[in-house]
């Protein structure tokens, strides 16, 4: 790959999604754009970059930018977080609400495994959560991924990563194609929407919990700060932001501080102590 190609594609990623691809990871470009390049008949990424330059096409550009993002996801990824959410955070929030309604946002939810894992776990935990109305919104930058997530159909390899056989039997139905489709009941608990986290998020409404796991860490400092502030402004009073394992907001924002009640949770600064005492 020419240096020029690397520069153009990494600029494209930065502009579209705030994602930073260091030169040391240029192999990721080859891996992630291979399918698109072949489909469009380009012999190399240099040809693809040349085409983007000579014949600007916003739709194709957006598709390339989305493909450059990591789509690494699995069911029940970092399950302690899912457990904390469903056993602690949501029940506590439920006690604070008067209408029995909660909203959860999976920001950067890729093909839906995170949102479906939460829906399954809520169903299993039952009790007060079952009677509550918990709306889950899963958003991703990529249109194709969002459509696939909405269908709730997963392949042979996907359903065997993070999903126990009991859950597969309980919540999925095998299709004639060999894929597995999650039940309508689980699908109805979730809305899927294409959304870029660097854009205005006010149209999505406010949330009790926002999960943003392993999304920020791939971003450059400016985009990361912007995205975090946007997340903060969509948080209901007393709401919680949950990050991926090993991720921190220290040095990125002063608006949030680590929750004292929930591991991996972040709350509006100045409220953690009150939250822990509640």
């Amino acid at each position: 790959m020419l240096d020029e190609t690397f520069n153009e594609l990494s600029d494209l990623a930065l502009r579209h999604s705030g994602q930073l691809i260091p030169q040391s990871k240029s192999y990721l470009m080859e891996a992630r754009l291979g399918v698109i390049a072949r489909r469009e008949g380009f012999g190399s990424l240099d040809d693809l970059a040349h085409c983007l330059r000579e014949r600007p096409n916003p739709t194709f550009e957006a598709e390339v930018a989305a493909a450059l993002l990591s789509q690494d996801t699995r069911f029940f990824r970092e399950r302690e977080t899912i457990e904390t959410l469903t056993l602690s955070v949501l029940p506590a929030r439920l006690k604070q609400t008067s209408n029995g309604k909660l909203r959860v946002w999976c920001a950067g939810g890729a093909s839906g495994q995170e949102a479906y894992s939460i829906a399954m776990r809520i169903d299993e935990v039952g009790g007060a959560l079952k009677g509550a109305r918990i709306d889950i919104l899963s958003t991703d930058l990529c249109k194709g991924i969002t459509e696939r997530a909405r269908k709730g159909t997963f392949g042979h390899f996907e359903v065997q990563r993070g999903l126990s056989i009991q859950r597969l039997l309980n919540y999925f139905q095998r299709q004639e194609t060999g894929d597995w489709r999650i039940s309508d009941e689980m699908r109805s608990a979730i809305s899927f929407r294409q959304h870029n986290l660097i854009d205005d998020s006010s149209g999505l409404g406010k949330f009790d919990v926002i999960l943003c796991r392993h999304v920020l860490s791939g971003m450059d400092a400016v985009a990361r700060r912007d995205v975090v502030e946007r997340l903060v402004s969509q948080l209901l009073p007393g709401g919680v932001v949950m990050l991926g394992e090993g991720e921190t907001l220290a040095g990125i924002t002063n608006s949030l501080e680590p929750s004292m009640a929930y591991r991996g949770g972040w709350v509006v600064s100045g409220t953690a102590e009150r939250e822990a005492a509640a």
Binding site: R74, H156, F157, Q160, R161, G162, S164, I165, Q166, L168, L169, Q173, R174
Partner: protein, 121 residues
């Protein structure tokens, strides 16, 4: 070190699975059918069994049923590993006492994920 018994009539599958399971820090023993596997278990109970369904002499389901009747036969974690991967077959394996089920074809990531699911790693 934990011991894993790999039961499959295909030498190629045993070889592939063996390499993956060894990487997960298990001692590996191999058997090419259920009867041979049962002999191994009567000798020393493994911690885990990766079990094929269709095999000559004694198939996976018959082995599982026999194993669970042995003294300490409830101890090994049994992970079925089969191409019979419709809900009916999977459900049957689980009812007979399988702890997990891997649908073939598998890769290292799937075996690792399923072993983690049942607390083997």
């Amino acid at each position: 070190m934990k011991r894993c018994l790999i039961v499959d009539d295909s030498r190629v599958v045993r070889k592939v699975a063996s390499r993956i399971v060894t990487d997960l820090k298990f001692d590996v023993i191999e058997a090419s059918d259920g009867a041979e596997a049962l002999d191994h278990c009567r000798n020393t109970m493994p911690d885990a069994v990766l079990l094929d369904w269709n095999m000559p002499v004694m198939n996976g389901l018959d082995f599982l049923r026999a194993l669970r009747r042995e003294a300490d036969g409830d101890k090994p974690v049994v992970v079925f590993c089969s191409t019979e991967n419709d809900a009916e077959h999977i459900g049957e394996a689980v009812r007979f006492g399988a702890n997990e089920f891997i649908m073939k074809p598998f890769d290292a990531d799937i075996i690792e994920s399923k072993f983690a699911e049942v607390g083997l790693i």
